[in-house]
Each structure stands twice: as structure tokens, then as C-alpha cells.
């Protein structure tokens, strides 16, 4: 193994225990995390894409909801730093197996992991688990609530790709689609505002109720949302919502809310287009946009591993 030292900013060494959401993270701490991710991204360009930074640590991925992509990204991030990885996957509620969540966690906790990466279909589970364990907890998506590493990699991508980036102040992110059911939207609102940027939310009325994110600009008109936006994020519209009591049809949604080249003419000339994936091509986003020059969708995916490396490193190092 290559014993290459990695340089990280001093501020990142002030260890935080958990990443559940951004409530107890400052803009400076997040900035340091981005700087650490830059180092990690550089590691991933080397011939030998592995450093011993987390050797001896064990990362447990606890996925109570399926998500192969996010789990792989975290596992890659752990292994690239020489951490051991244990994985637990379980669909549905643990009660169906006669076991409470707390008992499940107690059992897993006997494996002595140092950090858990938790994904669950219900909001709040990472918070519950953080109360029941001494290990660190990273929220990998809980219900509609939060998906902080996705928001981090989105902002990190913007920071790296927006021409002449000089900070988030004055930069406007437009989030378009099913805001109500989206943990990606909630986390991005929280992070983008913490970093000093502006957010405007857009979607059909049933998917963007008035009490979502109080104090954040909102509109049901795509043109209003996109006007002058520096980044446009289209959210995945789940199939089961397309014809339901919530929406008349996919056709109606496409006509009014699809992010198209024409609609993007209203945005900032350098505006970037983002999508948290997986894509419903030609539903929430036109193919020509997803594959076009403004799209940084692939860069978002690529940012996933370095951001998660930085999160694991920041939470674990200095613990012993």
C-alpha cells in the first residue's frame, strides 16, 4: 500500500461526532470539508487510489432502505482510506421480524464499528440511532427529511464548476419538482442558505405546499424560478405520483415543469444544471439538457466519493 500522507486543513481536525443534518455545522466547517474533499479528489487521480488515513477504523453501512448507488459510494469512500467496512441491509420494518430498531442496533453495535452510515425510509432514524450508540452517525438519507452528503456534493460541484466561482453569496439555486417528498431539496435548502446563497423552490401546488421551508422564495411558475438562477436542480418525479390525487398526469407536469433548453434561456448565462439522480429522462428534465453543456450531472456523481471520504475522515480522525 502506498503510504502517501495527505494534507488536510487544520480546521477540519476539530472533530464533529455526527452528520445528521447541518444544524450544528458552521459554514466554516463545511468549507473545510470541501477543502478536504479537494485533497481526496486528488488522491483518487493517483495510480494507487488508496491512503491509510482510516486504517483500523470500521465503518458500518446500515441501509434499511435500498440504495445501491449511495451505499457503494460510501463503501468506496471508506475503503479508499483503508477503513474496514461491514454492511447491513434490510428492507421493511424490523418489527416484521419481531425486533425493534433499538434491538437491531444493539446487536450490530456489538461489532464495534466506529461510524455508521444510515439510510432509512422514515425521517429521524439516524437521530434515534445516534442516541443509542457511541459511534459516529452519518445520515445517508432519512425519509423526506435530509440527505446531507448529497447536498454537500451538489454544493461542492457548483463550487468547482461555476465559472469564476467567488463564493455562494448572491448565487441563486432553483430547485424544481416534487419538493414536498424530497430529502434532497430539504438538505440543499438548509446547506445552500447556510453557505450564504439564495434558494427558490418551484413545483406544482400539491408538491410545494406553503409551509415547506418557511422564508424561502417559492413559485409555481417555472419561468419565475429560473430567471437569473445560477444553478438549476431538477428533482426526480416518482412514477407513482404522476397520475394520482396529487397530479393530473405526466403530460401536464412535463408541459409546465420540465427543465428545457427554452426555459433555461431565462437563467444566468453560466447557469449549471444539476440532478440528484436517478433521472426520469424527458419527464423532469429534457434529455438535451441532461446531456447538454450546462449539465454537471456526471460531475455530481463523481463528487460523491471525495465528499464522502472527507465526511468520514472529518468525523473519525482524532477520535482515538
Amino acid at each position: 500500500m502506498a503510504t502517501v500522507q495527505i494534507e488536510v486543513p487544520t480546521s477540519a481536525r476539530e472533530r464533529k461526532r455526527n452528520l445528521l443534518d447541518f444544524a450544528d455545522w458552521t459554514a466554516d466547517e463545511i468549507g473545510a470539508l470541501f477543502d478536504t474533499a479537494d485533497v481526496m479528489a486528488q488522491v483518487l487521480t493517483r495510480t494507487i487510489k488508496k491512503v491509510p488515513a482510516l486504517q483500523g477504523f470500521t465503518v458500518g453501512t446500515l441501509f434499511f432502505e435500498d440504495s445501491t448507488r449511495t451505499r457503494l459510494s460510501f463503501e468506496r469512500a471508506a475503503r479508499a482510506q483503508s477503513a474496514d467496512v461491514i454492511s447491513f441491509a434490510s428492507g421493511g420494518s424490523s418489527l416484521s421480524k419481531g425486533e425493534s430498531l433499538k434491538d437491531t442496533l444493539r446487536t450490530i453495535d456489538q461489532m464495534q464499528a466506529d461510524l455508521y452510515v444510515v439510510r432509512h425510509a422514515c425521517a429521524g432514524v439516524p437521530h434515534q440511532i445516534a442516541r443509542w450508540t457511541e459511534a459516529s452517525v452519518v445520515n445517508a438519507g432519512d425519509g423526506r427529511r435530509s440527505h446531507p452528503t448529497q447536498a454537500l456534493l451538489d454544493a461542492y460541484t457548483f463550487r468547482g464548476r461555476f465559472p469564476g466561482f467567488d463564493g455562494f453569496a448572491g448565487k441563486r439555486l432553483a430547485i424544481v419538482g416534487d419538493v414536498m417528498h424530497s430529502r434532497v431539496a430539504r438538505s440543499n435548502v438548509e446547506l445552500w442558505r447556510k453557505l450564504g446563497g439564495e434558494v427558490v423552490l418551484c413545483g406544482p401546488p400539491p408538491l410545494l405546499p406553503p409551509d415547506v421551508a418557511p422564508g424561502v422564495a417559492r413559485t409555481h411558475r417555472l419561468e419565475e424560478a429560473l430567471e437569473g438562477a445560477h444553478a438549476v436542480m431538477a428533482l426526480r418525479l416518482q412514477r407513482e405520483r404522476m397520475a394520482s390525487p396529487l397530479l393530473p398526469s405526466a403530460t401536464e407536469y412535463v408541459a409546465r415543469y420540465q427543465v428545457t433548453e427554452t426555459a433555461l434561456e431565462l437563467a444566468h448565462p453560466d447557469a449549471l444544471v444539476m440532478h440528484p439522480g436517478p433521472l426520469n429522462r424527458d419527464i423532469e428534465i429534457a434529455s438535451e439538457v441532461a446531456d447538454g453543456p450546462r449539465s454537471v450531472i456526471e460531475a455530481q456523481v463523481a463528487a460523491g466519493v471525495p465528499i464522502r471520504m472527507a465526511v468520514l475522515y472529518t468525523l473519525l480522525v482524532g477520535k482515538r
Binding site: 434499511f64 420494518s93 424490523s94 418489527l95 425486533e99 425493534s100 430498531l101 433499538k102 434491538d103 432509512h120 425510509a121 422514515c122 425521517a123 429521524g124 432514524v125 437521530h127 434515534q128 432519512d142 425519509g143 423526506r144 427529511r145 435530509s146 414536498m180 430529502r183 430539504r186 405546499p209 409551509d211 415547506v212 421551508a213 418557511p214 390525487p245
Partner: protein, 436 residues
């Protein structure tokens, strides 16, 4: 003949303050009461009340005792002992058990078991079971109200599950009116409620938890009040949780609709902010609402709009409440803390008079059911509770008689704890502190 004497109590009932005095209980009834009547009386047991407050035992029209079928959560023995420890002498048990209490034989079984529990003073409140409105709580076919009533059912309710079908609700009310039965409703519109696990609002949106809007409750309360108006049946709206639902009830009461309503201890003391802990102990149906709603409910209590306080005691296993918020069941246990909680948070806080609180736990529920008002008077049944209004003590769930040994109020210091509960003149509960 058995005789028990209580010396030097402060006597209070729904008619007001009766001064200090003694009470002599013979064969389950009050044989004498007043200043000095207990002096020198030979008795099997003499209780030195020391000025503590003696009042008729409380009545709870809404408790989930889980028998038959869910004894892992609670059973008649633990639930009725918990009720007695909470100062309750009479409890109406809900029918959402397994099997559902929808057949006369099941009602008769419950009555017989509960009667057996009271033999020999083993410490149990009186049980007056409710029976379900629909078979299996499926909301499709009516149960046989007349036969259920003959077997001992005092109330008809599908509590736990709203009656979605308006035609079924109407038929139920038509039968209930004819039989003089009270129909209690769990009023929430199922489609508007959706998969909500907490109050819909700023907090639910921030927490990313599916919300249940107050409109779901208000529209169903409106329907149930209209059906009461249409049929003339006595409809009792259970666990009103929000301002809008209460305003609808006020509207229909003003029209003279035969409607009464209940609020619970938790909806009077907790808000949706509690869900920020993501602790499923706070998951109840209807959900905990906003501080505005709590203030409105308290105001409605003061203005006499609310007829009764029912606990909606809903025990679950600890493991069930250590699931995620989506999977954990609705309901919390509270029958052992209801009185001290409300005494401390409402009476001591100056928001409600002591006799007003007692009225909502004694005369109020009796009036809802058409039962005689419980009174401290010679010849009345000796269902009594002696309350210590001074002793301040923390809520200790591990001491609960209920099998559900957890509480939203764990550790909270409260006053107004029951000291002694008598049912039919027998000691059904005695605080450890009371045993000399």
C-alpha cells in the same frame, strides 16, 4: 359487615366544597359523613387522611386495555390496576382488541373477568366495556347493538379507526338513538389524514415527516355532528385535538345538536414540537398539534365547551415504541399520571379551577353517559379517591401498574397524586407513601 373509616379529609365533589370531615364506609357504601362522624367508630381499617382531599373516584370514558388478544401491551388486571392508581373508579374500555369486541359473548367475558378482579380487593377499577360499531372495525357491517348492550356494553365505538362510510355512521346513530346508547367517534377523514404520523404544519415539513392536517379532523367532526343532528343520536366526539375541530363542535352545540366532546391530557399539555426528538412515544392519533391549538383547547375547557376529559390511555410495548416513526403504533400510556399532570399544569398554573378539573373527570363523563352524578352523600357507592395535593413527586414510569412503563412526562415533577382509591369500599390502590 365490613367497615372502613376515613378521618379528617377535605371533602369535595361536583356540588362543591363540603368542608372537612370523616367518612364511614359500610359494605361498599357511604354510611355517614361529616365532621366528627368517624370518631370512635370501630372499623376494619381506619385511614388518617390528614386533610388530604377526598372526592368521588374519577371516570374515564376512553381507555385501551388491550384484552383480549394484546395482553403483551396491557391486560384487564394491569390496566384496571393502573386506572385505580390514577384515581379512576370506572373505566370504559375500547373495542379495538384482537379479536375486536363485536360480539355479545366477548362483552360478557370482559365483564365477568373484570368483576372477578375486584373480588378480594385485588386492586381494579370497575369496567364498563364499549363494543365496536362495525364488525371487526372494518367499517362495513353494523354490530348487533341491542345484544351488545344486553351483554353489558355501555358505548358503541370503532375508536382507533374512523368510520369512513357516512351511511354506516347514520345507521349506527339511528340504532343507538333507539337504544339510548352513546356513539363515540374517532373523527378523522382517512383520505385527508393519509399516511400522516404527526400534525401537518411547519414542524412536520421541517422534519420531513408525513403530516396529518387539522382539516382531516374538522371535516369528520362536522360530518359526525351533522349525523347527530339528523338522527338525534347521542354522539360523543373523542379526543378533540385542534382549534378547528373544537370550533366546529361549538357551532353544532349552538345549534342544539346532541353532541358532547372529550379532550385528552396529552392534547392539553404537549405540542408537535415534541416530535423534534423523533421519539415515537409522542406519536398519537389524532396527533399532537400546535401551541395555538393547545391554548384553544384549554380555553374551550374553561368556557365549558368540553364535556369530559378522557385519557385515551393507549399502552404499547417498549419495543414497538423503539421503531421508526413510520412503523411505531399510535398511542401513549397516561392513565396513572392524568390527574397529577392536569392538576399541576392547569390548576396550579392558574389556568383552571380545581373543581372545574374534577368536574371534567367526574360529573362530566357521567353526564355524557347519562349516569348519576357521583356524589359524596350517604347511601352513595364508596368509589372514592383520596388525593394528596401537596406532595411533589417525579413521574417514574418504572413504578407504573400499566405494562407500558414509559411516559412522555418521565421525570417531570408533579403534584396531585392519588393517595388511596376505594372501589365499592375496598382499597383498590394505595400509594406506597400511604402505607405506614
Amino acid at each position: 359487615m365490613s367497615r372502613l373509616v376515613i378521618l379528617d379529609a377535605r371533602l369535595v365533589d361536583g356540588s362543591g366544597e363540603l368542608g372537612r370531615g370523616d367518612v364511614v364506609v359500610e359494605d361498599g357504601r357511604i354510611a355517614a359523613l361529616g365532621e366528627g362522624v368517624g370518631a370512635g367508630v370501630q372499623a376494619d381499617r381506619t385511614v388518617l387522611a390528614g386533610g388530604r382531599t377526598l372526592t368521588p373516584a374519577l371516570i374515564d370514558l376512553h381507555a385501551h386495555l388491550r384484552e383480549p388478544g394484546q395482553e403483551v401491551k396491557e391486560d384487564l388486571a394491569s390496566g384496571l390496576a393502573a386506572a385505580a392508581a390514577g384515581g379512576f373508579g370506572t373505566v370504559v374500555s375500547m373495542a379495538n382488541t384482537s379479536p375486536v369486541v363485536d360480539e355479545p359473548g366477548l362483552v360478557a367475558d370482559l365483564v365477568a373477568k373484570a368483576d372477578a378482579l375486584r373480588v378480594g380487593g385485588r386492586g381494579a377499577a370497575r369496567l364498563r366495556p364499549a363494543a365496536s360499531l362495525s364488525h371487526g372495525l372494518r367499517g362495513q357491517a353494523l354490530t348487533d347493538f341491542a345484544a351488545l348492550q344486553a351483554a353489558g356494553a355501555v358505548m358503541i365505538t370503532d375508536d382507533g379507526i374512523p368510520v369512513a362510510d357516512g351511511r354506516l355512521m347514520r345507521s349506527a346513530c339511528e340504532y343507538a338513538r333507539d337504544l339510548g346508547l352513546v356513539v363515540q367517534t374517532h373523527s378523522e377523514d382517512p383520505s385527508l389524514r393519509g399516511d400522516g404520523v404527526m400534525n401537518e404544519g411547519i414542524v412536520s415539513q421541517e422534519l420531513g415527516l408525513p403530516g396529518n392536517p387539522t382539516a382531516a379532523e374538522a371535516v369528520m367532526v362536522a360530518r359526525d355532528c351533522e349525523v347527530a343532528l339528523l338522527t338525534g343520536a347521542r354522539v360523543h366526539i373523542a379526543h378533540v385535538s385542534c382549534k378547528r375541530a373544537m370550533q366546529v363542535i361549538e357551532h353544532y352545540k349552538a345549534l342544539g345538536a346532541p353532541v358532547t366532546c372529550e379532550v385528552t391530557p396529552h392534547h392539553l399539555t404537549l405540542t408537535d414540537e415534541a416530535l423534534r426528538s423523533f421519539d415515537p412515544v409522542f406519536k398519537v392519533a389524532p396527533p399532537l398539534r400546535t401551541a395555538d391549538d393547545v391554548a384553544y383547547l384549554r380555553d374551550a375547557v374553561r368556557r365549558g365547551v368540553v364535556d369530559s376529559i378522557g385519557t385515551d390511555h393507549a399502552p404499547h410495548t417498549r419495543a414497538e415504541k423503539e421503531l421508526d416513526l413510520g412503523s411505531a403504533p399510535f398511542g401513549l400510556p397516561n392513565i396513572e399520571v392524568a390527574l397529577p399532570l392536569l392538576y399541576t399544569r392547569l390548576v396550579l398554573a392558574g389556568e383552571l379551577g380545581e373543581t372545574d378539573l374534577l368536574r371534567l373527570l367526574q360529573d362530566g363523563p357521567a353526564e355524557v353517559m347519562g349516569w348519576p352524578a357521583p356524589r359524596l352523600e350517604v347511601g352513595a357507592p364508596a368509589d372514592l379517591v383520596l388525593i394528596d395535593l401537596e406532595d411533589e413527586r417525579a413521574v417514574e414510569p418504572e413504578r407504573f401498574r400499566s405494562k407500558a412503563k414509559f411516559s412522555p412526562w418521565a421525570g417531570e415533577r408533579l403534584r396531585g397524586w392519588p393517595w388511596l382509591t376505594l372501589i365499592d369500599g375496598e382499597v383498590a390502590f394505595e400509594a406506597p407513601e400511604a402505607v405506614v
